[in-house]
């Protein structure tokens, strides 16, 4: 029945007609709208790529992962970063055939124990981890097994691409990425802050120098069958540590036993008696306090008797020695006589200013205090003057030596890269320990010790290396043991305007036929430092200087002729 066939008669018929025709407009509009929808529906169903939208939703989730901040070396080489390493977990309630599942898991991950896996699969608990840090292949294979009860959980693993190279500086993290040592622990506030994930931590360490230092130390450690070794390269003007090695070391990527001996960073943890290296401080304080002049002579003709003890010289000259000679030939008697003239109080005051009474300053945890004599009498004062009876960490030693040669400013060591402009420090920023004039003299004396004295094996053609050897006997059961030695060498270059300090220390080295069974600082540590400087000098862009005369040379030559 068509609407046109019906007609209502009467007065109202006109209005109804109007209403009817008006209805057509919205109806046609609706028809139009719905047909649009229909067309769109068909076009979506037939032509639109649906999978596109689904993946979009899924991939948007990755934003949640928070990770530890990277650690880079001074040139931007990655030293610690995070990589995805999924963990395998299990929901035992979803496992129907534990025996078979266990078999298959053990076949894929052979280092797992079958019984233990089975125990986990049949456990009454809701959720259990089976193995952490899977490789991508393992992940793929486990997914291929297709058991709904096995869960792969996204996780991050801290990775140290440089392996053992700087393990003691970096420290390590435990299974839950909680830092346990080193820079990881000290800068945890920064490293675990997800808001700073694009703000990596730049260390002052240079991977290349670190490698050279480690390689040379390791070679010498093998050669002299030493128990341990430690080495530091430091920028004297900024306090930046460019390399810090302690051997034996560990690999932060592997399993770690926190109590193992290789976990100890000997540069900050172990105070050593430094031996003759301390004569540097003795001479520096003597010259700086003005109580001794360079040309003053001291009687080293025979061993010095103080109370019940007798002080001997290792390289006895049996004559009067002036100050450069005492330092160059490393005379214990001379150093003792010098310190007698300086005085105990002045000595203590200077050593404290050199920072040798306190923990070393650096951005690491677990620093060791120096071991000081309990009572400062005349004997103690004298033994300290040549580095016995006082034990400081290698970092203490390096920081203090840096202040002796850099113009007298004690600049705290740092592991964080400083900007170029910060190198030039005004003397107001750091305490002035000795005067620049004394510092200049000390540079020449250290140069003489390498050129003419005990440190001659540290000579490097082209670089004016200065330094001081140190050999100390170890205390075993309260007595000095002549066969166990701590030998060290602290070197710096170029001596006219020192830029870098290189320090090497060996614990219980044994002489070889090459060294005539000598295991002193001059034979063991000095060649290592020399070799390191030979390799790092060109790398650091230090300009070689071929012929510059060392001052005060005449004092030594004149002294030799006297006889």
């Amino acid at each position: 029945m068509r609407s046109a066939d019906l007609h209502i008669e009467g007065a109202k018929s006109g209005a109804l007609e109007v209403a009817r025709t008006r209805l057509i407009v919205p109806v046609s509009l609706f028809v139009f709208g719905f047909s649009l929808l229909l067309v769109r529906l068909v076009s979506i169903g037939l032509f639109e790529d649906i999978s596109d939208r689904v993946t979009r939703r899924a991939s948007a989730k990755t934003e949640i992962i928070r990770e530890r901040v990277d650690i880079l070396d001074r040139n931007g080489v990655v030293m610690a970063t995070n990589l995805p390493a999924p963990s395998l977990a299990v929901r035992p309630s979803l496992i129907t055939d534990p025996q078979e599942v266990a078999d298959r898991i053990v076949r894929l991950l052979p280092d797992l124990n079958r019984t233990r896996v089975l125990n986990k699969l049949t456990s009454s608990r809701h959720f259990l981890y089976i193995k952490r840090n899977l490789t991508p292949t393992q992940v793929w294979k486990i997914n291929a097994l297709g058991y709904p009860g096995l869960v792969l959980e996204q996780a991050e693993k801290r990775v140290y691409p440089q392996g053992r190279l700087a393990s003691h500086v970096l420290g390590y993290v435990d299974m839950d990425n909680k830092p346990q040592a080193g820079v990881e622990k000290f800068f945890d506030d920064h490293l675990s802050n997800p808001e700073r994930s694009n703000d990596p931590l730049y260390l002052s360490i240079d991977v290349r120098l670190q490698y050279i230092m480690r390689e040379e130390l390791e070679r010498a450690m093998d050669k002299f069958s030493a128990r341990a070794a430690a080495g530091i390269i430091m920028n004297v003007n900024s306090g930046e540590i460019l390399a810090m090695t302690s051997l034996p070391d560990f690999d932060g990527n592997g399993a770690i036993d926190p109590l193992a001996p290789e976990m100890k960073n000997r540069n900050i943890l172990e105070p050593y008696e430094m031996g003759s290296g301390f004569k540097t401080f003795t001479v520096a304080m003597a010259l700086d306090s003005g109580s001794v002049k360079l040309t003053d002579e001291f009687d080293a003709t025979k061993p010095l008797k103080v109370g019940r003890r007798t002080i001997h010289d290792d390289h006895a000259k049996k004559r009067f020695l002036n100050v450069p000679e005492i330092y160059t030939f490393s005379s214990n008697i001379g150093a003792s006589l010098v310190i007698r003239q300086v005085g105990i109080e002045v000595q203590k005051d200077y050593l404290e200013r050199f920072g040798l009474f306190d923990k070393p300053v650096i951005e690491l945890t677990g620093l060791s205090r120096p071991i000081l004599p309990t009572h400062w009498g005349e004997i103690q004062s004298m033994t300290v003057s040549y580095g016995h009876g006082i034990a400081v960490t290698p970092l203490n030693m390096v920081t203090a030596i840096a202040s002796v040669i850099n113009g007298g400013r004690l600049i705290p060591a740092t592991l964080i890269r400083k900007n170029k402009g910060e190198n030039i420090t005004s003397s107001n920023d750091y305490p002035q320990v000795i005067s620049p004039a004394t510092s200049r003299k000390m540079r020449q004396l250290m140069r003489l010790a390498v050129e003419k004295g005990t440190g001659s094996f540290a000579r490097v053609e082209g670089y004016r290396v200065g330094g001081k050897t140190g050999t100390a006997e170890k205390v075993v059961n309260g007595v000095y043991d002549r066969t166990r030695k701590i030998t060290s060498f602290v070197g710096a270059f170029p001596m006219d305007r020192p830029q870098y300090i290189v320090f090497a220390l060996f614990d219980e080295p044994h002489g070889t036929a090459d060294t005539f069974n000598m295991a002193t600082g001059g034979w063991v540590a000095a060649p290592v430092v020399g070799q390191v400087i030979r390799r790092i000098g060109p790398l650091l862009g230090v300009k070689p200087v071929m012929d510059v005369k060392t001052e005060y040379q005449n004092l030594i030559l004149a002294g030799n002729e006297k006889k």
């Binding site: 407009v25 509009l29 939208r53 979009r56 991939s59 948007a60 990755t62 934003e63 990277d70 040139n75 931007g76 080489v77 990655v78 030293m79 970063t81 995070n82 990589l83 995805p84 990775v159 691409p161 440089q162 392996g163 190279l165 991977v207 290349r208 490698y211 050279i212 390689e215 490097v460 053609e461 082209g462 670089y463 030979r534 390799r535 000098g537 060109p538 790398l539 862009g541 300009k543 070689p544 200087v545």
Partner: protein
Amino acid sequence: MIRVVAGFFIVMVMISAATVYSLKETTQQLKAHKQQLSADILKDRAAIKVLRAEMAYLSQPARLEKLSRRFLALSPARADQMAKSVTSIAGRENFKQVAFPVDEFPLLLPQEKPVFRKKTVIRQPRVRKAGFYDRISLKLEKNE
């Protein structure tokens, strides 16, 4: 007269409704696009991280030294090979400095995420006509 006005308003309502709908649709698509982009960025960032770690691992000094010993006829520079300045090299009084010595150690990193192409038949890229969404997003961009 009233009819014309009413018709005009009805048309206007329809047009504005259609515009609002399409705008909303466009915004949603843009949002999805943005999500896709940020997911891609995250993925790329993760890939860069892995690559950098691999780079650092592969450029371990010990490994590089071994490789250099084996494949290169080069040895580390010695002090006597270094010149203090250009002028100090014999016979070079008249010189022109064209570059400054490089004292930094730039690490060369891969510039781009490597793309692993499948070796299957190369498909002709589908050329998509600019749809309404593309046109309006272009327009929005221009207006900004």
